[in-house]
Amino acid sequence: MTFSRREVLALGLGAAALTVLPAGAHAATSDELIAAFTGGAPMAETGVTITAPEIAENGNTVPIEVAAPGAVSIMVLATGNPVPPVATFNFGPLAAEQMAATRIRLMRTQDLVAVAKMADGSFARATANVKVTIGGCGG
């Protein structure tokens, strides 16, 4: 098993724990997954950020980073994948910062969604569109 340095760092934050969801269990829709995560609570449009390339250099390994200061948990969904859940990052009280980075596989051009659960029980949401292209023909 290999870890990227970023994943090791994420784990090394002490209190932070990385939960990688098993793929292929059953394909709940992104809306269902968000509803289950938030319990249907409203989500603020600020408070969580996704950093991802506008166009993936390689759809098989797309570097992404999510951050939500004050979050206890951040769920990441790849809404256009057959199985949307990517990961849910949980942050304990000793976590120095509520940030995590990993690499994900994107089947096609799609929106990534990050939903953060804050310490006060509120939620925030962000989306980022990542294009997966066949490439070539650059000027």
């Binding site: 506008e54 390689n58 292209t133 066949i134 490439g135 023909c137 650059g138």
Partner: protein, 565 residues
């Protein structure tokens, strides 16, 4: 575009902005139909800092002909905005007289005729004369190279970029950023970059494995000029691993990395930068968007999309300079920087009319020395053309039609695909076509001409995919090339539609029948980004085709039906 009136209205800090473009002089010259080197270089030195910008030279050491595009469509917010204005509309916008030197240098229309009056443009020996003249006015002027320098000719290919490095080193740039250079392969890029006596910059050049900045390419460099602390931040072409073969430089990752750009601007400001210049290979519309989203950039020297604009474009407090391609222009930007901020700008896009500007003797000798080992190969006449050969424009140029014809004929294909690159000089009607001319529009390190089968459905996907690289309304999703050129098929394109709905009415021209989504077609093309592509080199394919034809005559291409909405 900035009008004179806007300049007067804009104020920065306490003092009014003094800037004025050099364009007014040009327009008068145009009317007089007379040009001298002194006219082209005349410039009232202004402020305390001078920037000299060259970009997208594409290894054109010698003067060339280069026709500007007649079709260059803007989408979204950039519809109808410069640089997406061409021909007579462009001339009206800038007050350029028809038939004037600036008509010829900056816009399409009557190119074949005007080229005979005004002659070739560019040539690095002429560029050297201009750079030296600016340095005579301002000895500490910064010379900044926007990249796409080590690509685009037979000599550059054969020397793996060494000819351009030797010539540019003699010109003494202060910094450079990159695009096609990476197609030399990462080992060669590293070897050349380590040899450079100037800064190799790219805040968006990252190590692919660690997703961290590289050691080889610094994000920025500081310069102390005219008592001003200047930060030059590099921005390499963001989509190299997508638009060009990723396997040639697997160690590197790019992207726009807007957040990091903003962080770098903050970092250099915190270190005392009084002037922040971005040396960019983003492409013009991407630079415009970035200028509107990243505060604190004073000047963006824009490259990649090969646009030449006679005036800066202002976005907020940022001025964007577009300096053309192929050695055809040099931009001089004089700035007044006082009390820690930019107070004024004066700019001139200097066209390099090769018959007007005297070549610098030392540089001319250096260029000839680079070319001497290849002189016989370069000058060999392969054929002759009755039609003007050009490439630039959103859809097929005549060079592309000739290349596609060569692929169809030499590779016995039903359909040909040719990349929508923006480089490649023109050849006038009635001229000989030399081997150098052919390499000027084909030279690259992955030039193998493949022959394969594609279904009609896949061909549609390819056209849609490339169209979205060009016509996505969000500039950050544009890769800066033109539409893939096609031979053997026609299609309709509605540039206002989203991806998947732009391309329709695909037709096999040979039979007039609609393209069948389920059928396999024999397709020949070149410049595949896939590793292990096999086939003869495209320049050999084109050379063989031209030899057989003897004289090239191309009918007008009506295979693309354009809907602009």
């Amino acid at each position: 575009m900035i009008s004179r009136r806007d300049f007067l209205q804009v104020s920065m800090a306490a003092s009014a902005l003094y800037g004025a473009s050099g364009f007014g002089n040009w327009a008068r010259l145009a009317a007089q139909q007379a040009l001298t080197q002194d006219d082209l270089l005349s410039f009232d030195t202004f402020g305390n800092v001078s920037l000299i910008h060259v970009t997208d030279i594409h290894a054109q050491l010698k003067p060339i002909f280069f026709r500007e595009p007649s079709v260059n469509l803007g989408v979204g917010d950039n519809r109808g905005a410069v640089p997406h204005i061409t021909g007579a509309d462009f001339r009206r916008l800038y007050g350029i007289a028809d038939g004037s030197p600036s008509h010829y240098a900056l816009s399409s229309g009557d190119f074949d005729a005007l080229a005979r009056s005004y002659g070739r443009v560019g040539g690095m020996d002429r560029v050297a004369t201009v750079v030296n003249a600016i340095r005579a006015d301002r000895p500490d002027a910064l010379l900044l190279d926007g990249g796409d320098t080590w690509h685009g000719s037979l000599t550059c290919y054969e020397t793996q970029g060494q000819d351009m490095v030797n010539v540019m080193n003699a010109l003494k740039p202060d910094a450079m950023t990159f695009h096609w250079e990476f197609t030399l392969g990462s080992d060669r890029v590293a070897e050349l970059v380590e040899s450079l006596p100037f800064a190799a910059l790219g805040q968006n050049i990252f190590d692919a494995e660690w997703d961290e900045p590289t050691e080889l390419f610094k994000p920025y460099e500081f310069f102390e000029r005219g008592g001003v602390k200047i930060a030059v931040i590099g921005q390499a072409f963001p989509y190299m691993p997508i638009a060009n073969p990723r396997w040639m430089f697997p160690e590197y990752s790019f992207g726009i990395r807007e957040e990091n750009m903003a962080a770098m601007v903050d970092e250099v400001r915190a270190q005392g930068a009084e002037l922040v210049v971005v040396l960019s290979h983003n492409g013009f519309d991407v630079d415009k968007k970035m200028a509107g989203r990243v505060p604190g950039i004073d000047v963006i020297l824009s490259g990649h999309t090969h646009d030449a604009l006679p005036e800066p474009v202002q976005v907020g407090q940022t001025f964007i300079i577009a300096s053309g391609s192929n050695g055809k222009f040099v931009s001089r930007v004089d700035l007044d920087v006082r009390d820690g901020r930019m107070m004024g700008i004066r700019h001139k896009l200097i066209p390099i009319f090769s018959d007007v500007i005297a070549p610098d003797a030392d540089m001319a000798a250096l260029i000839d020395a680079q070319r001497a080992p290849f002189a016989d190969r370069l000058s060999e006449v392969i054929g002759r053309t009755e039609s003007l050969l050009y490439r630039r424009g959103n859809f097929n140029g005549t060079w592309d039609d000739l290349i596609c014809d060569a692929l169809l004929s030499e590779r016995e294909a039903e359909i040909a695909l040719s990349p929508g690159v923006r480089w490649g000089p023109s050849v006038l009607s009635g001229q000989d076509i030399t081997r150098e001319d052919i390499w000027g529009v084909t030279s690259m390190t992955y030039g193998e001409a493949y022959r394969t089968e594609m279904t009609g459905e896949f061909l549609h996907v390819v056209l849609e995919d490339v169209a979205d690289n060009l016509f996505n309304p969000d500039p950050y999703y544009q890769q800066g090339g033109d539409m893939v050129r096609t031979g053997g098929i026609g299609y309709r394109i509605d540039v206002t539609k989203p991806q998947g709905e732009r391309i329709s009415n695909m037709t096999l021209l040979r039979t007039g029948e609609p393209i069948d989504a389920a059928r396999n077609y024999v397709v020949a093309g070149w410049a595949s980004v896939n590793e292990g592509t096999e086939g003869p080199q495209i320049w050999d394919v084109v050379e063989n085709h031209i030899r057989k034809l003897g004289t090239v005559t191309l009918a007008p291409n009506t295979s693309v039906e354009l809907i602009e909405g």
